[in-house]
């Protein structure tokens, strides 16, 4: 019964979305207030109906209603409750429903908090947002309906893919979708502005929180996914340049570019048409990502629920929205005249560089990702593009970006003198250089990657600190002024420092990893680096829905044990699939990472042990970056009415000039 209600709510939401797509748009065109006013309650109703449908599906998973095809295929009575719930989105249909819930949630939020938007713009934004929802509702209802019943309900389900039965991956999709779908808001704002034919500073201010929120959720989502790959795939890698990973990375890069260029629109009324283009492309890359993940066109470790037929639908959605938006853009972009004037050395120019590097970086990832497809279709060559390509072709752009970032972020708007602004950064430069030299001296005969990474990381982190310090002016009231700096400034510094910390982590992990592969006898101690490793015991352990071969490994130093971990090999009998769980002793400066292999005929077990320097810094950096984003989101500027900002500015803030 509840399932049928959910199904009904879903179809009803589809109908509401169609109305919301058409009526406010016509209303805005003709200037009919009553028609425009339809958008707001419709957006709320759409969200409530979809949320109800989602709740109904969740209920079916929680009570293990195997008469639902989706529950039968992706659940099992023995599964822990957490994974029964997360199983709702651990499959194509359910994740699509989650996608639409988030899409309608963003639409509803635009309706609830969009009170200070001009009525026509708000009506158009909501209509465009709803048109995206219509496409996805149709896709779901006609090809991937989650509410299909089975005529003869089986006794038990087929279990969820064991790889997804993990906290890291269970919460990875919701965050990723919040990011993907969040970019639909910037898209709607861009298209609405194009229809409206006007982009001004206020538009930049309205669109930025949405872009920022999307970017922040994408950061968390990607970080979770990468953390999961680190401890679950058994190699301790954090990024594999897999098509599915790239699918989430491309929107992240564009979103980062977008939220920076929106600042230029807001503060200086320049870069308008470029920002609009970025807003369109960011959502385009979200759709391309969806296509890559769900169509199975590109082979990937992560892809699940592949179906080429669905791919055609997504390609169609992509074609309609990108084609439509870009055509509109081609007609209207010329009318957006830039106002702000700035010289070659200025914050504006620095942000142009930021956008250039991020966009080209995204382009390289895109080309590399689709190249196997292009080669197969047009060149008749079957080839692969793997990590070596991306490391060589993509990394230089990020190195340059990191190198110019601290300098660019202290430049004033309009016109700057490099020498004057750089003064505060000289100490930072020398500290970073000294740390890099130290790293160079401590390693022998290794690549330059480590020292370079340390330099960039330190440069970014201390650069962010130095910027805050300079912004707080001089004299004794400094601390108070520091406290009173706008939240956006704090957010900026924190996010940039987070980026630096991630750089440090990546450099450390890639340059100084120690690996050891051997047969370990039980009770025997061996040393890896300066760590003494002992395989104490191996036992068979029964989990809730799996059987585990669990090793007990002790890590010691100078004869003293400091940690014990339990690497596992699990087998999920229902899905008949093995997984590995690494045993990790986390540390501030390094992780010790151990994976249990097979029993050997000679007795003993195959064991792989790694020392992973600065591994945690990668994800700590991601967390700090998203914290910075969140801090910036709480800036009161985004909440007060447009125009009121100048008069109510925090009196203590020192202007950038």
């Amino acid at each position: 019964m509840i399932t049928e209600l959910g199904h009904f709510a879903l179809v009803l939401a589809f109908a509401v979305a169609i109305v919301q797509m058409i009526v406010p748009l016509v209303g805005a065109q003709k200037g009919w207030r009553s028609w425009m006013a339809v958008a707001e309650p419709a957006a709320t109703a759409q969200f409530l109906l979809t949320a109800f449908a989602f709740a109904a599906l969740t209920y079916a998973f929680v009570v293990s209603d195997f008469s639902l095809r989706l529950v039968f295929l992706n659940s099992h009575t023995d599964k822990p409750m957490l994974y029964k719930v997360t199983g709702v989105w651990g499959n194509h249909e359910g994740s699509l429903l989650l996608w639409v819930v988030i899409l309608t949630l963003f639409g509803a939020m635009a309706a609830w908090f969009g009170g200070n938007l001009p009525p026509t713009l708000r009506a158009r934004v909501l209509a465009v947002q709803s048109s995206v929802a219509v496409a996805f509702f149709a896709f779901m209802i006609f090809t991937s309906n989650p509410f299909l019943r089975l005529a003869v309900p089986p006794f038990d389900g087929q279990d969820l893919n064991p790889l997804l039965q993990d906290p890291g991956l269970a919460f990875h999709p919701p965050f990723l979708y919040l990011g993907y779908v969040g970019l639909s808001m910037s898209f709607s704002f861009a298209v609405a502005a194009l229809i409206e034919g006007r982009v001004d500073a206020a538009w930049g201010r309205w669109v930025r929180p949405w872009a920022l929120a999307a970017w922040l959720f994408l950061t968390i989502g990607i970080g979770l996914g990468s953390w999961w790959a680190y401890y679950e795939l058994g190699w301790g890698g954090f990024w594999f340049w897999d098509p599915v990973e790239n699918a989430s990375f491309m929107p992240w890069l564009i979103a980062a570019a977008l939220l920076h260029s929106a600042i230029v629109v807001e503060k200086r009324e320049a870069l308008k048409s470029w920002t609009i283009l970025l807003a369109i492309l960011a959502f385009g890359f979200s759709l391309i990502g969806t296509f890559i993940v769900r169509s199975g066109v590109l082979t990937s470790v992560h892809a699940f629920a592949n179906d080429p037929e669905r791919g055609v639908w997504i390609l169609l959605i992509l074609g309609i929205f990108m084609g439509g938006a870009l055509t509109l853009y081609a007609f209207r972009a010329g009318t957006m005249e830039a106002k702000g004037v700035f010289s070659l050395v200025s914050r504006e120019s620095a942000l142009v560089m930021n956008n250039l590097l991020l966009a080209v970086g995204c382009f390289v990832v895109f080309i590399g990702t689709i190249w196997p497809l292009v080669a197969e279709l047009f060149l008749d060559r079957t080839l692969s593009v793997g990590p070596p390509f991306f490391e060589m072709a993509f990394t230089p752009f990020m190195v340059v970006l990191a190198a110019i970032l601290p300098l660019g972020s202290v430049l004033p708007w309009k016109r700057a003198k490099l020498g004057k602004q750089a003064k505060a950064l000289w100490p930072v430069f020398f500290v970073a250089l000294a740390l890099a030299a130290l790293a160079w001296a401590m390693q022998t005969g290794r690549s330059a990657l480590g020292p370079v990474g340390v330099f960039l990381g330190a440069w970014l982190v201390f650069g962010a600190i130095a910027e805050l310090w300079t912004r707080s002016g001089k004299g004794e009231a400094r601390l108070r002024r520091l406290k009173n700096l706008p939240r956006a400034d704090w957010g900026k510094a924190v996010a940039h420092a987070g980026f630096g910390i991630t750089c440090l982590g990546i450099a450390g992990l890639m340059a100084w990893e120690v690996e050891d592969i051997r047969v370990a006898q039980i009770g025997e101690t061996y040393t890896v680096g300066n760590i003494e490793v002992t395989l104490q015991d191996v036992q068979q352990v029964q989990g809730p829905n799996y059987i585990s071969t669990m090793g007990f490994v002790a890590f010691g130093r100078d004869g003293e044990q400091f940690s014990q971990v339990t690497p596992e090999k699990r087998i999920y009998p229902v899905a008949s699939m093995p997984t590995t769980e690494a045993g990790i002793a986390n540390g501030f400066l390094r992780d010790v990472y151990v994976v249990l292999g097979d029993p050997q005929s000679s007795g003993g077990w195959a064991v792989r042990t790694y020392i992973k320097p600065l591994a945690n810094w990668i994800w700590a950096g991601c967390i700090i970056m998203s914290l910075g984003g969140a801090l910036s989101l709480t800036d009161r500027r985004f909440r007060v009415a447009a125009g009121a900002r100048r008069t109510r500015r925090t009196p203590d803030a020192v202007p950038a000039e």
Binding site: G340, F342, L344, E348, L356, V364, S384, G386, I517
Partner: protein
């Protein structure tokens, strides 16, 4: 029942990637073998190098790589040997020949193009008469006065 299941489980568990028994005695050769393995894709897997994969083909390929190294092949000879038999597909680092040049040059070309466009844009912004920045257009002036009147 559980015991029978356990035995079945132990038998069914696949060989974990790169078993210690596969390693070469000579550490220098072994390092080279690892280096080569990381650049070769497992032909039946989704997107893994033969170094990471636990498929049987990957294991055979790892053995093959080590065999060739022991026979005295250089790194490129080993890679060519594998590519001759399994095709270009196994190369994780795409070749820089023929149409693949487009792949390798796409990034730098785009950067130059973008830098050119950005340069022209900044130049034009820079050259604008200074006063224009602060002047309102007619519609804006009208809108402003309307807002002030409200």
């Amino acid at each position: 029942m559980i015991r029978a299941l356990l035995i079945w489980v132990l038998l069914a568990t696949p060989v974990l990637a790169l078993d210690p028994s596969e390693l070469l005695q000579d550490p220098v050769l072994e390092d080279r073998a690892r280096e080569i393995s990381k650049g070769l894709r497992c032909p039946v897997c989704q997107n893994e190098s033969i170094d990471e994969s636990n498929a049987t083909v990957a294991q055979d390929l790892r053995a093959l790589v080590r065999e060739r190294l022991l026979a005295g092949d250089s790194n490129t000879e080993v890679v060519d040997f594998v590519v001759d038999r399994y095709g270009e597909y196994v190369l994780l680092n795409p070749q820089t020949t023929g149409a693949n040049l487009a792949l390798w040059l796409a990034g730098p070309a785009m950067l130059l193009l973008g830098a050119g466009v950005a340069g022209v844009y900044i130049r034009r912004r820079d050259a604008q008469p200074k006063e224009q920045a602060g002047v309102l257009s007619k519609e804006e002036a009208a809108r402003l006065s309307k807002i002030l009147d409200d």
